[in-house]
Symmetry: none
Subunit: 171 residues, 2 copies
Amino acid sequence: MKTIEVDEQLYRYIASRTLHIGESASDILRRLLSLPTEAVQANAVEDHLTQQAAESIEPEQLLKMTLDEVQLSKEESAIARFMLILSALYRAQPGNFSQAADIKGRKRIYFSQDPQALLENGNTTKPKQVPDTPYWVITNTNTGRKRLIIEQLMQAMGYSADTIAEVCNKV
Amino acid sequence: MKTIEVDEQLYRYIASRTLHIGESASDILRRLLSLPTEAVQANAVEDHLTQQAAESIEPEQLLKMTLDEVQLSKEESAIARFMLILSALYRAQPGNFSQAADIKGRKRIYFSQDPQALLENGNTTKPKQVPDTPYWVITNTNTGRKRLIIEQLMQAMGYSADTIAEVCNKV
DNA sequence: GATTCGATCGGAGGGATAGTTA
DNA sequence: TCTAACTATCCCTCCGATCGAA
């Protein structure tokens, strides 16, 4: 990977051309420049291939994607970044995510495929669907807890402490 | 300046398109993407070349860009779309925009380079800066008036009724 | 009247902080 | 009782329809 510098305006222009959540700057530029996409892995990410294929994405690559995505997104709210990260985590390892998604608080449950379940365990949890995912999360939490939720989730998914810290740092 | 990551191959591709020694990545990308050279920053003493280059963009092209941009942007609020359109209108023809920007209401003035002026003519006008522009607009209006402001502005800039209708339709 | 314009105020979303429970 | 963990109330900001004024 190489790093290049672009002015603010151009940066925003590129970001505005995002077609799929999680697209990297390279993906976007290649499309804009009508260049061929870079073989295998890029495709696996874009077209929701089989669960298996998706499972095989390297955590390292996920990390990069996630951070890029959050970076590129103009979203300034913690909720928006939270959702983006969760979406990326699911995309990289759906099966693993599902196993990890049963983390809960004292009364609340944090994830569910059924929003009703979130509503029933706790008041005003403000469930929202994680984009491109069958999962819903609670949303009525402070930013610290959003980080804790990601931390616990990623731990259960088997990420290293460093990776977790880096991701949480972006919320 | 922002930093983006591109893969090796793409990096080499971009580098290979250098036309002038010392050209920045932004310059090259702008040329490859057929974007105008960098727009004038707020308040800056504008260099004539930039100004002239920007003025010469075809209205047709602007229209397409504008609509695309608004379309692609995930911005949900009328205000966000409003700002995007104004920004694009300025970018395409800064001088023309400046001449047209003196439209006003009964008490309020709609545009100014000085937010204070907007604050002073009217209560709670909620001025916001038009992105990449020395101009500020009032923001505390209903959506209908936002359309009217764009309509009047574009009329004063000399756009055809069809074009105006199409753009207003996107607000 | 009819129409245009202004800006108040209600509603929604976000999330810190006050409150509760273990 | 004291503290740490968790909850959810409630305040703040942003948006823009609605209603009042010209």
